[in-house]
């Protein structure tokens, strides 16, 4: 099976973009592409061919779920595992997000040092 290498990170906040990217690259050694919006993600995703997509939920314009739905329209991204990034949520909201097609939800603020591990753990659960 393939390995987790390429991660698409969709987040509108530049600072968080920078931190997350740094966390994933430095700690996880992943190749991270950052998109500042759902629209940008749609443009770039297929070309980037990510192994995993991390979506911020609260974004102006297309929010996380909308972006996910749109990305899924692109054949190459139909089965790419997706995780939402959002403020601490309750289990039923997690369930809701999962039902939208995400594997899991990562709480914000996240532990920068643990983020890479969390992502990997989610990616490795692909058979759930």
């Amino acid at each position: 099976m393939s390995t987790l290498q390429r991660i698409l990170y969709v987040e509108d906040e530049p600072d968080i973009q920078a931190v997350a990217k740094l966390a994933l690259e430095m700690v996880g050694g992943f190749t991270v592409k950052v998109c500042a919006s759902g629209e940008e993600a749609l443009r770039e995703a297929t070309a980037f061919a990510p192994d995993m997509i991390l979506l911020d939920v609260m974004m102006p314009g297309m929010d996380g779920p909308t972006t996910l739905a749109a990305l899924r329209q692109q054949p190459a991204l139909a089965t790419v595992p997706v995780a939402f990034m959002t403020a601490k949520v309750q289990p039923q909201e997690v369930a809701r997000y999962k039902s939208l097609g995400a594997r899991d939800v990562i709480a914000k603020p996240f532990d920068a040092m643990a983020l890479a591990g969390q992502v990997r753990a989610i990616w490795e659960r692909r058979d759930d």
Binding site: E13, D15, I16, A18, V19, A20, L22, A23, M26, V27, M58, A87, K88, Q90, P91, Q92, K108, P109, F110, D111, A112, M113
Partner: protein, 853 residues
């Protein structure tokens, strides 16, 4: 009168008898007198008849004697009387017409025996060849009937008969001869009785003497006797001739001599008539006729025909009438007396009845008085015609008027009315009198001392046949107290109503079946319905679907099972306004029993605004949290990376500062999380994933998760009591959160090197998890609000111990939401045991099946 067994005579009997007798006596007297009258009449008539007959007979006999004397005179006057002369004499008499009944008139010649033959020859020579003196035979002297006119019929048989040969005749003839007087014989049978029914007979003799003879002595007379002029009589014929054929109903008989021997009977009229029968004749008489030396006894007896003339029976009629009247009177008397008796009895009974009624009336009166007295009801009587007003004792009391102050006029009442009420009351009185309304009213009166009392009055008007009012009878009673009570009640009710009306919450009461009974002003405001539109209808009209249809089910479910879904608890439900709009409301329902019925009181609060506020707050919190979290993510992320060495080693002091910054940014994050948690919990937005699950694994997990935290404070956690079988209805994640809170608190407040004991203990239907530390315990002043927000012992502690000050508050909320309780035991200076209890849903002994507690 009939005889009957007389009952013992009571007064009326005696009276009746008296009347009867009194009536009968005159009747009887009258009867008697009438009877006597009749008798007398009869007697008179009878005697008249008797006299008549007697006179007639006597008269006739004398007439007959005259005839004979005439004949004798003829002989005396002439030397000789020839047959022809005799005949002429007799014919002249017209015997048949004048003296009916006389058989004839004849001459019997005395014949000396020596003359006999010559006599016979001489007669024969006259033309009677068969003549002879009969009976033949020798006798001292002979007589012979030589003349007898009319010389025909029966009389022929007498021609030549010697009457002296027969004793009875002889007797009479001798007597006549000797006395020179007329004589008659006793009863004889005449020789004329040749045919037909024989009759009794007799003869009358008048002696005839020779001319010039001396007749001074009987013997001389006898010597001088020439013969007799005589008449034979057939008595019946004679009587018929005397009396005629009339029958007047009186039998009479003639007896020769005295007495009434049958062979002496010469005549009996009764022969011709049927026998009388057994009854005695009413009238009877006997007369003696001295007839020429003979006594005839005439016996008269009245016959029925005669008697009945005088037995008119009138007296019986009168008697009957009289008796009848008497009887009637007696009966009447008896009846009247009976009536009187009856009347007396009735009167007696009536008297008894009246006494009883009086007694009953008295009883009723007493009871009325008692009732009226106890109820202080005054009775008045107003004579409309005369204007007089009568009051009873209680009226005086009601009006506080002394009897002598009350003048009994209408004004006596009117003047005591309250001036404000007087016109109305008097007008109503007039209306009642006029018949337009009943007198049923209330008014105030004023006592002498100025006290005002409320009086209720009621009266009826008595009218005459034309409907004109005669009098009015009524009652008064004091209703002041009642009025006051009513007023107080009204005030109280009004007060309560005001409260209800002004309560800000809607108050709705419904009955068992869901029908709305009351609907206060605020409810009207909330729902937009007027109370009248809702009262009497089912409460579900205030609910939208699906509650609208389900409400009856909820209600009946509650009533039957007692399952409180909504009772006693404030719930957020959805309501529907009149305009159809739906809104959120908070509903608290309580149940009461009123007058034996179950009722529910619902307190309704339109929480739309609150909800809106909450929503805004939520939104605000979300926004804020997001806004806070975003920079925090960057801060904590950056610092975390740096502190984690992901970007290589840092200079020592730089690393220290980065550590401090990183730790504090973590703290900020926790604070924000806790705040958001609290907000969610308070808003009820925290969702619980409840399941019946074993508790111990969570405890173990919590210990493991907090191990590193504890290590930081050099505190070890250990489980001192386990309850592996216990299952509780819980949200695992929240229990973990609670355990973490307790464990971290325990670690924070434990001295270094100490252990924190965790015990899990099942008791009844609850399981208690306790976390015990050996720290300084909870200070007294915090005991009350230890579970409140931000109630950490003091802010200095907060800084030192860390934590957000919300942990225990969150724990309490979480545990309570799971149906459990929190608590602590602490003695200051000896540590604290914080615990929570949760309901056990099942107990699974290790390896066995579950048993529900």
């Amino acid at each position: 009168m009939a005889r009957f067994e007389l009952p013992p005579l009571d007064r009326r009997g005696r009276l009746a008898w008296l009347v009867l007798v009194a009536g009968l006596i005159p009747a009887i007297l009258v009867w008697y007198s009438l009877r006597e009258q009749d008798q007398r009449n009869g007697q008179q008539q009878f005697e008249m008849h008797v006299r008549e007959v007697t006179d007639a007979i006597e008269k006739r006999l004398r007439q007959h004697e005259q005839i004979l004397l005439g004949g004798a005179g003829l002989f005396d006057a002439s030397d000789d009387v020839t047959r022809r002369e005799w005949r002429a004499y007799v014919e002249r008499l017209h015997l048949a017409e004048n003296y009916p009944g006389i058989q004839g008139v004849g001459f019997s010649q005395i014949v000396e025996p020596i003359q006999l033959a010559a006599h016979t020859a001489a007669i024969r020579k006259e033309g009677f060849p068969e003549y002879s003196v009969r009976p033949a035979g020798e006798r001292e002297i002979y007589s012979s009937i030589v003349f007898l006119e009319p010389f025909a019929g029966r009389n022929l048989a007498a021609f030549g008969y010697d009457m002296m040969s027969e004793a009875t005749r002889r007797q009479a003839m001798i007597l006549a001869a000797e006395s020179g007087r007329t004589t008659i014989t006793g009863k004889v049978r005449l020789v004329q009785e040749t045919h037909g029914k024989p009759q009794a007979g007799f003869l009358m003799y008048v002696p005839v003497y020779r001319k010039g003879a001396v007749l001074d002595a009987p013997a001389a007379r006898r010597q001088a006797l020439r013969g007799y002029v005589y008449s034979p009589y057939r008595v019946d014929d004679l009587m018929r001739g005397i009396l005629g054929e009339r029958s007047i109903g009186i039998d009479f008989s003639i007896h020769d001599g005295v007495g009434s021997a049958p062979d002496a009977m010469m005549y009996a009229s009764a022969e011709h008539r049927p026998a009388r029968g057994a009854a005695a004749p009413t009238f009877a008489a006997q007369r003696r006729i001295e007839a020429y030396g003979h006594e005839w006894t005439l016996s008269f007896e009245s016959r029925r025909e005669f008697e009945t003339q005088f037995d008119t029976g009138f007296e019986w009629l009168v008697l009957a009438l009289g008796a009848g009247v008497s009887l009637l009177m007696a009966a009447l008397t008896w009846s009247l007396a009976s009536r009187r008796e009856q009347a007396l009895v009735i009167a007696h009974e009536m008297t008894l009845q009246i006494r009883e009624d009086e007694k009953r009336l008295a009883d009723i009166n007493r009871r009325f008085e008692l009732a009226a007295d106890s109820a202080a009801i005054g009775v008045w009587d107003y004579d409309i015609v005369g204007g007089a007003l009568l009051w009873d004792a209680r009226m005086y009391r009601l009006y506080q008027v002394a009897a002598d102050e009350f003048d009994g006029a209408y004004a006596a009442w009117g003047s005591r009315l309250h001036p404000d009420d007087r016109p109305q009351a008097e007008a109503e009185l007039k209306e009642a009198i006029a018949g337009d309304a009943e007198f049923d009213t209330t008014f105030r009166i004023v006592w002498k001392d100025g006290t005002i009392r409320h009086i209720k009055a009621y009266a009826r008007v008595e009218r005459d046949a034309d409907g004109r009012p005669l009098r009015m009878t009524g009652i008064n009673y004091d209703v002041t107290a009642r009025r006051q009570a009513e007023a107080a009640l009204r005030e109280s009710a009004q007060y309560t109503q005001t409260i209800l009306d002004n309560a800000l919450d809607g108050i709705i009461t419904i009955g068992e079946s869901g029908i709305v009974e009351s609907f206060n002003k605020s409810a009207e405001r909330i729902f937009g319905f007027a109370a009248a539109e809702v009262q009497g209808s089912n409460v579900r009209m205030l609910m939208p679907e699906p509650y609208h249809s389900a409400h009856d089910g909820y209600l009946s479910n509650y009533l039957t099972t007692g399952n409180k879904r909504i009772i006693g608890i404030g719930r957020e439900v959805v309501g529907q306004r009149k305009d159809g709009s739906i809104f959120q409301m908070e509903l608290s329902v309580s149940e009461i029993t009123h007058a034996g019925r179950r009722m529910f009181i619902g307190l309704v609060r339109d929480i739309t605004e609150r909800k809106e506020a909450e929503r805004l707050k939520s939104e605000f919190v979300s926004t804020v949290s997001h806004e806070l979290r975003t920079p925090l993510t960057s801060i904590s992320g950056s610092l975390g990376l740096l502190a984690g060495g992901a970007l290589g080693p840092l200079p020592e002091q730089a690393r220290q500062l980065i550590d401090i910054a990183s730790k504090n940014s973590q703290r900020l994050i926790h604070l924000i999380n806790d705040l958001l948690d609290m907000e969610k919990i308070a808003a009820g937005k925290l969702q619980f994933d409840m399941a019946c699950q074993p508790l111990m694994p969570l405890v173990d997990q919590a210990l493991a998760a907090n191990q590193s935290y504890g290590a930081r404070y050099e505190v070890t956690f250990r489980i001192v009591e386990r309850a592996d079988a216990v299952h509780a209805e819980i949200d695992g994640q929240r229990v973990m959160q609670v355990l973490s809170n307790y464990l971290s608190n325990a670690a924070k407040f434990s001295p270094a090197g100490q252990a924190v004991d965790v015990a899990v203990h099942a008791e009844g239907d609850r399981v208690r998890v306790s976390v015990r530390d050996h720290g300084s315990g909870v200070p007294a002043e915090f005991r009350q609000r230890i579970f409140e927000k931000f109630s950490q012992a003091d802010s200095s502690d907060t800084r030192r111990k860390g934590g957000t000050g919300l942990g225990l508050a969150i724990t309490r909320e979480l545990v309570q939401r799971m149906g459990g309780t929190v608590g602590f035991d602490s003695v200051e200076g000896e540590g604290a045991t914080f615990f929570f209890e949760l309901p056990i849903c099942a107990t699974f002994p290790a390896g066995n099946g579950a048993t529900t507690p």
